[in-house]
C-alpha cells in the first residue's frame, strides 16, 4: 500500500479539486461582474455625459428591471437648464430655444 502510494497516484484527489474549482470560479467571477453592471454603467454613462454637460452624479439613475421574459434598462439623467456648454455646436439649437424662452419671459 505504502509502496503504491510512493509511485502511483491512486489516491490523488487534488487534481479533481483543482479542476472543479477552476470551473466553478470561472462561472462565479462572471456573475460577480454582472452584478456590478449597474455600477459600471452608471460610471460610464456619467463619464460620457460629463464630457459635454455638467451633471450631478446623484442625478444619474441607472436601474435594471428583470422579468421572466425580458429585462428593462432604465437610465434617467436630470440636467440643469444652464448646464450645456455654450461652445458645443450640438447645443446651438438648445441655446436658441432658451434665448427664445427668456426673450418671451422678458
Amino acid at each position: 500500500m505504502n509502496i503504491f502510494g510512493l509511485f502511483g497516484r491512486r489516491g490523488a484527489t487534488a487534481p479533481v479539486a483543482r479542476e472543479r474549482l477552476q470551473i466553478l470560479l470561472a462561472h462565479e467571477r462572471k456573475s460577480a461582474r454582472a452584478s456590478n453592471l449597474i455600477g459600471v454603467l452608471h460610471k460610464e454613462v456619467l463619464a460620457a455625459i460629463s464630457k459635454h454637460i455638467a451633471v450631478d452624479p446623484d442625478k444619474v439613475m441607472v436601474k435594471m428591471h428583470r422579468k421572466a421574459d425580458m429585462s428593462l434598462l432604465e437610465i434617467d439623467i436630470e440636467i440643469d437648464s444652464d448646464a450645456a456648454r455654450p461652445d458645443d455646436p450640438a447645443f446651438d439649437e438648445n441655446d436658441a430655444l432658451e434665448d427664445d424662452l427668456s426673450g418671451k419671459a422678458a
Binding site: R9, G11, T13, L24, L25, E28
Partner: protein
Amino acid sequence: MSKTLVVTSGKGGVGKTTSTAALGAALAQLGHKVAVVDFDVGLRNLDLVMGAERRVVFDLINVAQGDAKLHQALIRDKRLSNLYLLPASQTRDKDALTEEGVQQVIGELREKFDWIVCDSPAGIERGATLAMRFADVAVVVANPEVSSVRDSDRIIGLLDAKTERAERGERVEKHLLLTRYDAQRAGRGEMLAVDDVLEILSIPLLGIVPESEEVLRASNVGSPIILHNAMSAAARAYMEAAKRLCGEELPVKIPTDRRGLFVRLFGRRAA
C-alpha cells in the same frame, strides 16, 4: 508610516485569529508598534488567543461610540511592550458598529501605531466588510481545500470593490497566507498543492504555515505561536511572513515531507 492590515478569509475556522495574533506578535518582535483589533463583534476570540481575556474592560464599540477613550480600551501585551490589543464587544451585536465609528477609531490608531492588524469575522457581511474597509494591506488566509479557496476568491473580489482604497481607484495590496498545510498529504496528491491554489487565486504568496500541533498548544495557553514556541515550523513561517510584509525579500519554502524513505515505505499511519 502607519499601515492598516486586514486578516480575512470568508470561511471560518481557517486560522484568521491565530494568524492575526501571530503576525501581530511577529511584527512587534521586529520592533514595530502594533495594535491588533478584533472585529468579530459578538464572538470575540482574539483576547483569548492572546491570553488577555481577563483584562478586557472596554472594547472597540465603546471607543467607536465615544463611551470610552482609545487608551482606556487598549490592552498592552504582558510579553511584548509594543503590542496592544483592542478587543471586540461580546455583548453587542454586529450592527452596533458603523462605518463612521470604525473610520474614527482606525484614524486614531494610525496616529499611534506602525501596524494596525484587523482580525476579520468570517463571512462576507457587514462585520467582514467593515474590517477590510480602511485596509491598505490584506492577508487572505486560506487552507488548501476547495471551500476555503472558493471563499477566498469571493473575499478577493470584495477587497477589489468594497474597500475605501478600491473606491478611490487605488489597490489594496493582497497576500495569500496558506495555513494548515500538510506536506505529506499534498505529496500524496490528497491536498491541493501550493501551485494549484496560487494559480487559481492569482495573488502573491506571503507564506505557508504547516499544520502543527504547536498552534493548538499555543492557543490553549493564550500565547501567540511566535511567543509560545519560536522554533516551531509554524512560528518560523509566521515570522518570515511578517518580514515579507515589511518588504524583506525572502523566498517562500514549500514544506516537504521530511520523513525518511524507510518510514515512507514501511511506516503505517495510526488512523
